[in-house]
Symmetry: D2
Subunit: 351 residues, 4 copies
């Protein structure tokens, strides 16, 4: 096996601090696996690290190989590993949980108090090889391409958010039409949502993408969304709001669109504070607000595997992956992602 | 308005006891509506009454206008009626509930202790006009044809059964491929079931229909179903069984196909007794068995309205309605239904 | 039957605008019942009306008989009434729902869009007789006193809030220790909550009352609640927060005490706006926020009936009713309620 | 540390095949802990092994140290163990799960396909020392005695069964009043069940015990249970049946007592076959039947820890432990257990 590899490293805490370097191939511990990466995909979190914003400056300790969305093949396993073997085609859950705290033992491992995320807190997968704990390994359906397998982390976010509510046969508003918003639109429509209203801020590239994968109606923030939604729902409002924009104005808009007794689930990261009139917006409305992050380990993954057997869903995911770059062109890929004129972007790392 | 009308009446308690007669148009009470029937559809229950089997002999008191599945237009309303008006396009929930017992006040009106079913306990809708309580009225989506609207009662049964479980992204076995079984297959696939295994007894007309509306795999009772299902589910078994055949052998088969921790929901009417080894088939398997009947009033109806906005589902329903007869040809329609070589059969009553 | 009666009437929109007047006994419509009131109890809403605050000025149209919590005996029923008869001992759900909208037909009648509340929007029960719709009648357990029966409306609020979460065997913080907070403390402890932390603002009369009915630990707002709660929950935080104070600072405190994955349910009416950092307080915490009002019609009432069979709970309710005034001393009762040095206050109206 | 220890060993596959022997103290593997047993308690399963019935003959491979309910102190830990240390006071979940199959990763580890039970499939804890996997360790509340800690396995069974239903404020029938039935009665009453009907077969010792820990009404199989239950539930029937007798006649009786829409959960091991009329007993009744075994790992354990903070529950458990024998008097303890004239029986092994 190779002893050196190419890796995307945040070498310095600054906007220009990312470099493609030659580094040692990492060695797996007794409970780990070593994976040859085939495809990686770029998350909004990676853009934050690339840009070196306030969140990154606070959380990331350079030098760090970042990236956490991938598909690959196992090339070595630790002595204590029983659930994986060399040659397995896998992706991985990026939350490394302790396994023994209250959350881990109550079905909430994704909010384990001591959780570490690879590509954020420990070395990630923007590299030719990567080590992850065997407990985080997910075996991929051989029928799926590495590109689709590599986006299961964000698709899992979307599915986790959707299944925190009840969308089948219901009217749904999806706020925010970035890659995860588009995935949510597709899943909602493909599991029988009555009407999906997809609302972007200003980028028509992305509302168009939402439309391609099934949105019944798309809007920009400046449109009269409320009037139209009320009209199309017989004055009831939507049953479910999926907030995926990270914009607090969208949360306020979502609560306004929501019917009495409905649920709004929040996947975004919100830079601004939210101000609420709890009585009218929540209490008298009998509304439920849910904060969502990560994926249920591994209920969400199993449900995702089942959903991806559906050809319409798999095809929509292909549509949502709008660009595929060679690994060496990482900087270009990041620039494209930052432009907003893309869906999901994958990187071809190896075969 | 007309004072007389044509109606299908069980006049005598015998197999040849059904006649098309001219009778008085019924008069609505203060809490009732009078409906001009456009389309009626034929339920298995109607076949029982037509055949005059043991169940019918015990329950039905001739003379009785039977039938309970319909779509029509309101032509008169009682003085106390607030939720419906002349000209409304409606169908109706056939369970007449008291509204005040524990069940009615706990979201279980469909199992109200004093429930009466129209077309069974009180006069039904195989007629040019029919009276039902305003509380039972369901307003139809104007985008749907009367044929599709008329089958919401059995489609509601299928949806109620499906939503007593968790099929999205899961493997599902549907046992029994009559009209409701076919509806269940379509809904499961259209809401994202991973794989649907449809199992009939011996009638290939109906397994073919199940295939047309989305079954991934179809079987007859004589096939090696277990081996194939285990193979296709990585040895796990199906997550959910929907038993819609009314055959106790199918229940046993369903429990055998079910994975540990799975759910089997039973919609059938079972003439034979079932013998179970509770320890191995239920307790150690951590299985859940649910008896289902009717539809949630009106949660199931709202969800159905949302699902029918989905074009694929609406089209499948058209496929499942294999025959449409003129009202006067009622006897022929019943003969076709009895043959088993049909899906759902509707009757064109008026315009 | 008497033709005139004594009633508490808001005659003028001002703080001194409440008078005890002689008025006509109301007449029931066909769907109504006439009730001879035995006991009424005073709600915070009644204090708002008495005080004539901003909310009242906006909502109440004098002259109005107010009050909505009661126990009494039916003395007359309308022609169309089937679920009640003269001599029945009853209380009543104060939300008058239309019965036919989406909410009413989906188990959410308490948030019916056209809901009217008696004692707020239509005449109430601070009177010797009152008319309510038969649909709102609740038959009381004959084993219970009229005093306890009269407080089922607020007790139902508390139970509805508690059952929107999962408190059995869990750690619970109750914020706000007015009468409903005290009821919540009692119910939580009597259904097996692990530890109940009751937090008041500054009134020790009420934290003492909370202690009497089972709070494991009581605090005032100035105390170091966080440190103590974390210590007593092994650093985990509480599983459930029941916010019953109507104070937005308490909401912030509640979110701070809540463990990852926990639920905070809000029963209060919040005069101030709430400002949240959604990312840290909700999203990364995987928290659920539920707005609660009213009672499930009638699931909450049935559960309450079952809980009140428990002697410990019934005794706690007696403890929580700290004062009982004669009807004629209504003004004194209101003054006592306004002082904060009371639990629940009942009025003896008739026998 | 000692190198030899006393242990209860099934040495031969026959009724007289149990002996108290001196054997080597076992050695923990890297992922295991070695525990000094303080208290063990006797399960019905142990009686089966002692008696050497058909089930035992099929499952158990002598020689085997049996027993699986205990409390003790950790005296050694494997190199890879992170969640436990020497000196910890612990009990243990007896199901050893693989951790990686669908069930294990879906919150259903207790029905892991490769599950092994210590004291059944691998060496157990009727001994001075025992080895279990660290993953199975449960840290006990220091406020509880070793006797109470040792019965958490069966108490967990009872709690798991209860929480598969909804008993708070509801009417419950508990069928079977052995130790687990008595535990169920206590928990139901202490979490606010409205009325608990406890039904034994013929042993008044045990119905008396059920009464002591809170049963509102007790019956023997020969009594007119149905008439009395219907009378006391206003003709409705019970909302929940907890079947803990392992007798199929009791299952039939339970379904008969159950209200429409109710749930019956089955914890028993059933030697006889059950014959059902599915239509009347399940389908038209809208009944749910749940098979239960084991405990949720570890949701049930956390809830149990919370419930045991309740003094009434802890005291009831003391009442249910009717006998405590010295370890050397194991044979006498088994004889007492077989007599039926006991509640739970514990063995004092060490300090």
């Amino acid at each position: 096996m190779a002893e050196e590899m190419q890796a995307v490293v945040k070498v310095r805490g600054e906007p220009n601090g990312t470099e493609l370097l030659t580094v040692d191939v990492p060695r797996p511990g007794v409970n780990d696996v070593l994976i040859k990466i085939k495809t990686a995909s770029i998350c909004g979190t990676d853009v934050h690290i690339f840009n070196w914003d306030a969140w990154s400056a606070n959380r990331i300790k350079p030098p760090l190989i970042y990236g956490h969305e991938f598909a690959g093949e196992i090339v070595e396993v630790g002595n204590n590993v029983k659930n994986a073997k060399v040659g397995d085609h896998v992706s991985g859950e990026c939350h490394i949980a302790c396994g023994y705290c209250f959350n881990c033992r109550s079905g909430l491992a994704h909010v384990c108090k001591d959780t570490k995320i690879f590509g954020v807190d420990v070395p990630g997968i923007f590299a030719e090889y990567a080590v992850i704990p065997a407990a985080n390994v997910w075996h991929n359906d051989p029928a799926l391409s590495p590109e689709i397998c590599s986006i299961q982390d964000p698709l899992g976010n979307a599915i986790h958010t959707i299944f925190s509510t009840d969308v089948v046969g219901r009217d749904v508003a999806v706020l925010g039409v970035g890659p995860i918003g588009a995935m949510a639109v597709s899943i909602c429509k493909n599991i029988g949502a009555a009407q999906v209203f997809a609302i972007g801020r200003k980028n028509t590239y992305r509302t168009e993408l939402a439309k391609k994968v099934g949105a019944d109606f798309t809007y920009l923030a400046a449109d009269d969304v409320k009037g139209d939604v009320m009209d199309k729902t017989d004055g009831k409002g939507v049953d479910v709001v999926l907030e995926m924009s990270g914009n607090t104005n969208a949360v306020v808009q979502g609560l306004d669109l929501l019917r009495p007794g409905g649920t709004i689930s929040l996947l975004g990261v919100y830079a601004d504070k939210l101000t609420l009139d709890l009585s009218t917006q929540v209490v008298f409305k009998y509304a439920t607000i849910k904060g969502i992050n990560g994926r249920l380990m591994f209920d969400t993954w199993y449900r995702m595997k089942g959903l991806l057997k559906n050809e319409r869903i798999a095809n929509d995911m292909k549509t949502i992956i709008t660009h595929n770059y060679e690994f060496k062109d990482f900087q270009q890929a990041m620039e494209k992602m930052r432009s907003g004129n893309s869906g999901k972007i994958t990187l071809h790392v190896g075969d």
